[in-house]
């Protein structure tokens, strides 16, 4: 039996996710929680469309890790189109 620290959180708590917004932005980060303010992500990177495609950004981040730009981002629930665990994506 291994040692587990934080039970009782959101099902995605601690999971690295790809979050797509309704306006077409893509964030990568660790899902922390969801409350009245929205979805809280930690250690967050954001796709820069000028630096390449969304798919390349995700693929590069999956291989080399997420380049963290912001420690904490809150995205209003209404702006969230999709949240997908990074580890579940076929890259």
């Amino acid at each position: 039996m291994s040692h587990v620290f934080h039970p009782g959180h959101h099902a995605l708590h601690g999971i690295t996710v790809v979050l797509d917004t309704t306006s077409g932005e893509t964030y990568l980060g660790r899902f922390d929680s969801e409350d009245e303010r929205g979805v809280h992500l930690l250690d967050v990177g954001r796709h820069d469309a000028e630096a390449g495609s969304r798919e390349d950004y995700i693929r590069r981040s999956a291989k080399f890790g997420i380049r963290v730009e912001q420690k904490h981002v809150v995205l209003p629930k209404g702006s969230v189109a999709r949240v997908t665990p990074l580890g579940e994506l076929q890259l």
Binding site: S2, F5, G65, P85
Partner: protein
């Protein structure tokens, strides 16, 4: 701020019981990773139950495989801050995450396991991926 040492002691012991050498200072990291020869796995330990709670037993299972690294060393992210930062300099091409694992051969990173490749997965699945990497990178060429 580091967790209470008493709380993380079982997580350290879980590593040392499987034969990993703890590196808690910059000097210890440099001694182990500087001019590293042969095969080695560096485990970046973490208190995170989502991932480290599966990574440690996954590694333990993988180390029962026939092909495995000659050495296993570990640093503890969020606990041994300077040692962890120093270890990460040896695989700086990869963004820091914890837990994570770097497989090295003669000082070169040949495979890297990020946190997102561990999260939510059973130890057996983590072990299967690791043993596959051991076979690929540490197996004897015939």
């Amino acid at each position: 701020m580091p967790y209470n040492p008493t709380l993380v002691a079982p997580m350290r012991e879980e590593m040392t019981r499987m034969g990993a050498k703890e590196l808690t200072t910059v000097q210890e990291v440099d001694a182990a990773l500087g001019d590293q020869e042969g095969t080695m796995l560096v485990f970046v330990n973490s208190v995170c139950g989502c991932a480290a709670g599966n990574a440690r037993p996954g590694l333990r299972l993988a180390l029962a495989h026939g092909v495995k690294p000659q050495q296993v060393v570990t640093v503890f992210a969020g606990q041994d801050l300077e040692a962890t930062a120093r270890a990460r300099q040896y695989f700086s091409e990869y963004q820091p995450s914890s837990p994570s694992m770097a497989l090295l051969r003669d000082g070169e990173v040949v495979h890297f396991v990020h946190r997102h490749q561990i999260e939510g997965r059973a130890p057996q699945a983590v072990a299967a991926d690791l043993t596959s990497a051991f076979d690929k990178h540490f197996g004897v060429a015939v």
